[in-house]
Symmetry: D3
Subunit: 335 residues, 6 copies
């Protein structure tokens, strides 16, 4: 018996990632789209061969829908996702989980009450290079982790949204909430938690709107750059940089320094993972090219979400993990 | 008329950098060596064809000596350098300038009183790639600088000193004072000041002794790793990492993110400087390979020091600049 | 208010360069096509969404047409372009300007009388690599130019025209006039004038039909190869080779030898511009791949032509400059 | 029975090429050195284990000497070589054969009279890449030759002579006679004759002293650059450039354009010979790196000279061939 | 007058190789398709614009058909091909010629009787690299052949057939007859015969079904791996490996060791043919990439077949040659 | 207390491998050399700072000698090694263990009786790439091994021995016994046994003297080429080629085909080990370059031998294992 999925919010992330990946998943048999702007829902229904509804309640109350992707704006995640959970749906919520910790905690409360699965779309974990790095780190091939560096930056989100301009919601305080920190930073915070099997404990950071201007020519209200020094609960030290002003090639690199060598991720176009060992040995893994805004391949997130429903497993990215990331973002922003 | 130079302290830095570069400089006609361990002074006198003296006072009071390199241990720089200046010598002092700010300020006082030149050996400024980057930044080829990243790390100083073991003075609190921060960090702090024509204003950092042990097997007393988030007076944000525990290839890279593109220094083995521009243009400069502990070429420091004496110019690295770096190191270490 | 453009002659150059580039230009709102063979005009009108006319006079006398591309055969440029100018149109004339100097001088006369703009399609100036080289030469980054070498050659024009055979008009004396000299040579003569801000003064050359045969198997009447030694007014010396018989990869390279180093253009597949300096520094510019007959990208010529009309600027390639090139071709051919 | 060889003139060419290659040849058993400056002869005798004589006549009249290398200055070749031949010696004369055609003709007269062998050191013929190209051309693998390009240029001869300064004899009218034309050009003229089995018939050229100055700061009296358009007896067209002012990497490249493809020699650091065929096939020959002033390997010239003596064969580079080259140089210089 | 061709069997080989290559051949004017499963014949008729027939006899008896491709299953080649020959058709028969030697001999008998041409699709001979190797070997550029190595292996035929599963006929004893030996091995046996102008005389081999299972999960009945030591009539020694279990990149390499060097075929992605000579010279031929199951280009086989009909030449792969290969396969399998 | 070592036989293997590696081993304090030709023993004693003896008995009976390297000719291994063992020495015997199985069995008998250690110099096991491959195979990273290919070939042993000519003992029946099979083949047979943790069970092979001639111009008496098909006890199939007539680069490659991918050893100059996996992942290990006759680095064999003495462990290559290899060689040669 196939799974019927509802998608709330029909922006770019729904169009380019959720909808096509549900379509490609063999267990998903039907798609229902909702967007405040019904035209957008209709368009996706057409493109991906499903139907659409006019109100979010139709979706949430439809008893034949088993699972929901919450691709709504960040500021309403806590409403839609909580309602969906409490209506008995499994929910895959886009990142960031919520625009503040209090909202996020209510979502986790809804998860607990409902007994349904809540998964968050921290998709960095699912790339081949990050999965291989995780495997090597878990096996302690290079001993314990000592320090790390991680970066996520590109030329900015103006080109990503539907309207490709600097009027983008990413630049609005009330909708994006945390600027580049929530857009890019949260991905790599989650990745560090995942790879190191550890949690950021203390953050020292600076953030600011250094270059981006909105449609009126004013400096944007949210930060376009974050730099941090980080310390984990297990005592590892690291730096992180998140930026919308890297005006060259996109950079999604991470380096993990261990007792026995170094793991370099996404630093070479052909070898996505490189290991340098103390004795001079270099091991190059040619896996798959990194996903960039220009290179969209299957993230694996949808398959993982459907899989945890079918096999009744814990989601690979839990609400609790996402909350931990959100708290780090709060520390970064000094909230 | 040639210049007679005295060298105080005959360890590795004197042997591998100062002595050979003085020897290669056409204006230097005589070398006099001093070390607390007279045997080492004698050895260098033999190797580089000069003489040696038994006491530091002989050197400082020799009226025929015009210039002095202070290659003594960090903890006595303020004594030897100050005395030399006050005795009318120009002094090139090894980095870090001193083991605390108070001592350093006294050295600057001595410089002022004596009217002699004090230069500090922050040699990173002199590499071809850094000089080219400086030129591009000064000309604003890529507009203003927004953010930056800098790193200096290798497998540790155990292999550098004369005795190649973890009994090295680099690991001793009372002699190295600031561990990797003073050994490697101060180079890149100075470099950032130089390249950006700016000064680090606020530092958020973590530091610790994460891996290195001394000859007794105890964790070392000074830090082997530093990670920082930095903010400059002109509002640029950046990260820096300094490490003795990068157990792979040495990393002395710096990245400068500007309004019009990115400058990548020492990130590619053949192209020491790479520019990525907003329009996709990539420019690769094949200059000279970076100096590493294994690849020692002429630093240009000695030539610059002699040049500022002969032409009565301000030294390219002043005591004031070195003091500014020292204050940043103090911030890093939370002093 | 948009610009209405007329195109005279609907051969390959109109189809592959002029029409699509006008279509892509935001200021051009209408296209009108004319060809002696009305079917070809009709076909392009269909493809690029404009209309066509049956006689050239309709085009030239249409008061709503502001600008005209003269893509007619070389032997009638002087008629159509002069008429168009005198009818008050700005004209972009294909190269070579005319089949002899006398005709060309009449065209310049028409330009002067009409007060309209005459631009010639010497498109080599507009490639990214040539523009960057020009910038470096103007800034005297490598000092003064001493000597140069330039080449333009490929397997021949048989494959370029509409009928892809050796019955091509390029091989006919009465239509192509100057063979490879006018087809390829004039491009690089103009480029040398442009890059060096100088003019070829004396030419020593050989030319001949060494290999190409026409549809009857006879050696062609125009030259398929030119080799020259060149001297500029400012005393620079160089060589040039133009060929339709380079039976390997196309070669459109130029090398400029300066007092401080060498500029190599289009000699490496990835780095379109390479600078070698006296001190051993090598700088590689990865710009865009060169245009070849197989790789047609926007030349920038149409945009430049429209831009000089809108902003009432001097065309970037003037009739006077084109005449200078034509005189060099005459010298090459010994006319 | 071994061959005893005399060397006239003990400058760089004798020291770095003739003497070591005679020493390495198994048939040569004794070396005798002569130089106007006896000290230099003595030095080489010491280094290569031979004896030296005080006057050139001792050498020329020594009945035990079979063969002579004439490494004297260009302006006395015709004297020494003619005398040696007429005294019954086989002579290997350095290039250029003589400083004018009349002298050269007398040398050929001496050769004819003496019945001895006269070989000229046009060593370009002997490199592996040139030999392979010759073989391919002789076999007509790519059909007939149509056109060609050849170049020989570097940063100038100042660093080559014994005294490494711009007081070098290469810059003196009375000793070098033809500047870069005789130094570098004659090599490539000979090479073109050899590869194409043809002879330059008409030359159109410019030459000049564009950049080099002598020890007084005056422009040099001989040309430092030559550019030519060339036509062979069999109707092939080509260009040639010879330069002492290529202030980047040395360039000794030649390209031969044939009916069926292109032969590229010394244009790629690893593949010294590359063939591009009409059908797109590319064949890369990795032979040996080209000889430059910095990379001196066995030229093969000495072995070939000794071999033609032992086996009584015609020398691979005859006086007649060298005379033909000299006449081309005369045409280049407009003499 | 064009040739009308019949195709017997409409599986993958007909669809991807025979039909499109006949379609591209200028001499072939009509195609007629037959398959036991008429739907498949119909489909190809539609795709390639021919007609189809319901019985094989219609095809064989059609007097307007000149040539036939026998793409039927291996076990019926001897029936269809023999009948076609005896009906006066020229036949191109897929490999392997037949499932046993006796059948094959009857086919040759039919060929002799009919006087028609029988060609076998041993297409390895026709690749550019193999043709170039043959030319070099025939010319004895490297002297005589001493030894050789050849391999043909990939991940298995499951993905090649129409039904892309391990129910493939390749795995069935009664249809594929000889497993990987007949599928891949016969290609390389024929290639060795062709390249060396020699014949395998004695074979020592092992074969087995080491890994592949059929649709029931049982080990397959035919071999998935063959390894052999080989000796030719002229005394050359070699090894061969044929495999359906190379679970990485496809390998179709051959190495020929000669008295003067080594010929390496299909061992480098860009240089399909590499020659290493005794003296260290390496010659790299960049021809065309090898055909793999994923990279299907024109094999040249159809053109060669049509050419031998039109010009009444002996087919480039004769029945006799194919029989010789079949006998080697028998030896390999110990039959 | 240091170990005193005796070396029997002072040919190339003693001079280039045993002596320098003993000298570099920190536990070895004295070296004693013996050779039938006392001059050679004396020479090595001089070079490596030991003493030499005139008779082999002096060595074998010296009670202060703990360990012996038997570098004598193959035909006397069984005598010297057995005697040494029975005199209470640990013995490292060069490969091949003996010239026939019967002799080898006596040596194992001597080992058993003496209770001393016998190790054989099968040094291929010790290279980094082979050790890494072993580790990956033991961990079944790619599942079970299915098939394999191995090769060992070069231009021949003429250049290896002391007298560098084709009078070498390698070419003599009575001294080398098994030609290339014993020289190169035994290394790779042992390697296959080691890597696969398996043993060759059946061998089908051809061998012959195809090209090499001895000093009289006669074909040599031993084989210069071997080709084999191999089957192991656990059912894996493979091919092997051993050759002295690979007249290009040396080839010491091995490929292991597994259920989940392929391991390629020594097939790429920079990545000595490459893994290709079923899913397309490629992993490249940059370890150390392979040892060739031109590139001699520490084999690790001597260190392993000394280590097993000091720690009383089983030698990493036992007499039993060497005997198994010898039996395979016998099968290859049909003995």
């Amino acid at each position: 018996m196939g799974i019927k999925v509802g998608i709330i919010g029909c922006g770019s992330i729904a169009k380019f990632r959720h909808a096509p990946e549900y379509q490609a998943n063999p267990h998903v048999t039907e798609l229902v789209f909702y967007d405040r702007n019904a035209a957008r829902a209709k368009e996706l229904a057409l493109e991906f061969g499903g139907c659409y509804v006019e109100t979010v309640d139709e979706l949430i109350n439809d008893p034949t829908i088993t699972a929901i992707s919450d691709c709504s704006s960040n500021e309403v995640h806590h409403i839609h996702t909580s309602n969906a959970l409490l209506s008995g749906k499994h929910v895959l919520c886009e990142k960031p989980l919520a625009i503040n910790v209090a909202f996020a905690e209510k979502m986790l409360e809804a998860e607990r009450k409902s007994g349904k699965k809540l998964m968050i779309d921290h998709n960095q974990r699912f790339t081949k290079a990050h999965q291989k790095a995780k495997e090597l780190l878990d096996q302690k091939e290079l001993g314990e982790v000592l320090t790390f560096k991680t970066t996520f930056g590109h030329q900015g989100p103006e080109g990503w949204g539907v309207d490709k301009s600097n009027a983008t919601w990413f630049f609005k305080k009330d909708r994006s909430y945390s600027g580049v920190a929530g857009d890019l930073g949260i991905h790599k915070i989650d990745l560090i938690h995942y790879l190191l099997d550890d949690e950021i404990d203390v953050v020292h950071a600076f953030h600011g709107a250094l270059d981006k201007v909105d449609e009126t020519g004013e400096k944007i209200e949210v930060c376009d750059n974050v730099v941090c020094a980080l310390k984990t609960k297990r005592g590892r030290l690291g730096t992180a940089s998140f930026s919308w002003t890297y005006y060259g090639a996109e950079d999604n690199s991470t380096t993990i320094y261990c007792e026995g060598g170094i793991i370099k991720i996404y630093q070479h176009p052909e070898a996505q993972l490189i290991i340098e060992k103390k004795d001079g040995t270099v091991i190059k893994y040619e896996l798959e090219p990194i996903q960039t805004n220009e290179n969209q391949t299957n993230t694996g997130v949808i398959d993982a979400f459907i899989d945890c429903i079918i096999n009744d497993r814990e989601p690979p990215v839990t609400g609790k993990q996402a909350l931990a990331c959100l708290k780090v973002i709060d520390q970064i922003l000094g909230l």
